[in-house]
Symmetry: C2
Subunit: 404 residues, 2 copies
């Protein structure tokens, strides 16, 4: 185990807002790359994004920019844009990487930037493949999922609260930049990589079989909290705690049957329905009958007994809890989990924050870094990367060309 950064030497300039692109940049920063986020003076489009503290500091911005350097420039002025372009195209074998979700025009025009650095790698996250405007919340309805979410009784669409497409896109952006950097190392060529949020969503519903199912004319219904294609549902214990139990694999199913000692009742269901319940699909067909048996068992016991029994038999299960309970009561969401660390977040104060889920054995786990104060690294970056001296920086700062 060394203390080296996994992505030592890599420098990425990020010009972005909201979730996908900033998450991709944060992932690279948490792997050890130097990620320089450029914002306009006063902050970008996401600088006030909710959730916010009572005095308006964005917890969203703080969460998605951990471990980055923050540079602020007057992007409305040619001089400010010149510094931005110079940073993007600055020399360095493993520099010359740009991550953005802004239209590739003006100071982000790929061809103009390539005139400054011919092997530039630029990854542009877009709404759709034509560069049109789209966000997670307008793409998700088109994927059909809101009509498959919620109880069978629900007649309208149910939006997801997790911007899942943004999260997937952010990680694909990180992977795309790493793949393009490998190609550049081998071939010497940079490129412009495009990644459309809409395409990420379409590829995912295709990968999971939703599209093929529909192409074959097999319309999937709305199944409430049932796990599609096998057995899985939520149940209330006698003291009102809710748990999700899953019998997807044969092992998981046998563990569940053993834990609840429901073998005889399952055999009766198998006989009555003529279904071999050792096959996952048949467990889905018989889901209501199976759920009735599980519900009776769960409803007759307090959560403590349920948890003990399920764990004793290695059942795959999870407890429903609020975010408040997750933060207050779940050891996995605390410093007991080495992924978490304490940070002093500018404008917010003391927080216990998560770092990178990837645990690389070749390097020491990096301490969790807070997000920077907006513009905090402007002078250090302009000095170290562009050779601006502090007297010149002072003049630029006085004239409002640079922040910090």
């Amino acid at each position: 185990m060394e203390n080296a950064n996994l992505l030592e030497g890599m420098r990425v300039v990020e010009a972005a807002a909201f979730v996908a692109a900033p998450l991709g940049g944060m992932t690279l920063a948490q792997m050890g790359a130097e990620v320089i986020r450029i914002d306009a003076l006063g902050g970008g489009l996401d600088y006030r994004r909710w959730p916010v503290t009572r005095d308006g500091t964005s917890l969203f911005w703080a969460g998605l920019n951990k471990g980055k350097k923050s540079v602020t420039l007057d992007l409305g002025s040619p001089e400010g844009r010149e510094f931005a372009m110079a940073l993007i195209a600055a020399p360095g074998e493993d520099a010359g990487m740009l991550l953005t979700n802004f239209p590739p025009r003006g100071w982000l025009d790929h061809e103009k930037l390539r005139e400054r650095r011919s092997d530039l790698i630029q990854l542009t996250v877009q709404g759709d493949r034509h560069g049109g405007s789209a966000v997670d919340y307008t793409i998700n309805p088109r994927m059909g999922l809101p009509y498959l979410t919620g109880s069978e009784a629900v007649e309208t669409a149910v939006n997801h609260v997790l911007p899942a497409w943004d999260l997937v896109t952010g990680q694909m952006a990180a992977a795309g930049l790493l793949a393009a950097e490998r190609h550049r190392r081998r071939r010497g060529a940079g490129q412009h990589v495009k990644l459309a949020l809409e395409d990420v969503a379409l590829a995912a519903v295709g990968s999971l079989g939703f599209l093929a199912e529909a192409q074959l004319g097999q319309a999937r219904g709305r199944h409430g909290n049932h796990l599609f294609g096998a057995f899985g549902h939520d149940f209330a214990t006698s003291d009102g705690v809710r748990v999700m139990v899953v019998g997807l694999t044969g092992k998981q199913w046998r563990s569940l049957c053993d834990a609840l000692a429901m073998g005889d009742e399952i055999a009766v269901i198998a006989q009555r329905t003529g279904l071999d319940l050792a096959r996952e699909g048949n467990r889905f067909i018989a889901r209501e009958e199976i759920a009735a048996v599980v519900a009776r068992w769960m409803g007759a016991r307090p959560f403590a007994d349920v948890a003990t029994q399920l764990d004793r038999h290695g059942v795959c299960w999870g407890k429903y809890q609020t975010v408040g309970q997750l933060v207050r009561e779940d050891a996995s969401c605390s410093l007991a989990n080495p992924m978490f660390g304490e940070v002093d977040q500018p404008g917010v104060g003391h927080l216990v924050a998560p770092g990178l889920p990837l645990d690389f054995s070749a390097v020491a786990r990096r301490p969790v870094q807070p997000a920077p104060r907006l513009g905090a690294d402007t002078e250090q970056v302009l000095c170290s990367v562009l050779g601006v001296d502090s007297a010149e920086f002072g003049r630029l700062h006085d004239r409002g060309v640079v922040g910090g």
Copy 2:
């Protein structure tokens, strides 16, 4: 633009099932890596996963293994496991990469594999950081999201139907392998990378501010289909079509106000509430009043007029549709989108399937590949990678040690 594969020369062995790890392997395959999926004779745990065709062929398996090679071995026999370990540790500068979501024991024991290849890169996807059993559907309830999903009237938990945590984990696995391969190229060292589904979920809810919000004692409520922290909601047109409209950024909000010519009504709301609705957070506070105005406008027009008017003003919006409508009516989900291609999927037949969302300008877009027939590449891989000749392969096949 060259015809080279972006990840030319990279070889990854995948021993995995279900979504996360197979998706990570598929992403690398679609970028041009040679990804060899090893399964037991007869297929792995996910070989029958729903959705399935009427004769039981898994559309799920077909969707998550596109572009891979399939090798089947009798993993219950020492001889079969020996071939598996030999494939994982086979020579080749850019080989020696293993992606799995099985317990790193037996033939997947990292230390044993390192004795065969000291610079092996192994990435193990696990349920939790201790290697415990957990799946997307048991982790999501613990994150608090089911209690934030659905209408305010809903009193119970609403599960997501999209295995979002699996999808994010799969892309992080691809990024993690690429980052580890860069490190090996620079330092010569392999490693064992671990990635827990639970940690991926915890890091994400942390990145989005959910955890900090709760740590500060600001409990978020359930907001139905409202976009949290700004304006966004779903509305029905006069002919019963449902659309999602978003006014997250100032530009999006102004476009919406212009498209609906609702400036005066918004001004009245601003005056009555004393809220500056140019600030996104205030639009969330006044969401019900704003939604009432938008609902009246939407309800008075058929979808065709609504779409025309919203597009004319560049409003950020999306139409709710079923997966069936997506497949039949949405051009983005057809061959009109270059990400899609026609494949002849073994056991299924003709499908229009999506490829990789990442569009790399340095290489030609790869044609969409189907998933292989189970075991289809066993002889070719054992011959090309391990030097097994066809006579020997025939004997192994007769003895049931290898499939294909």
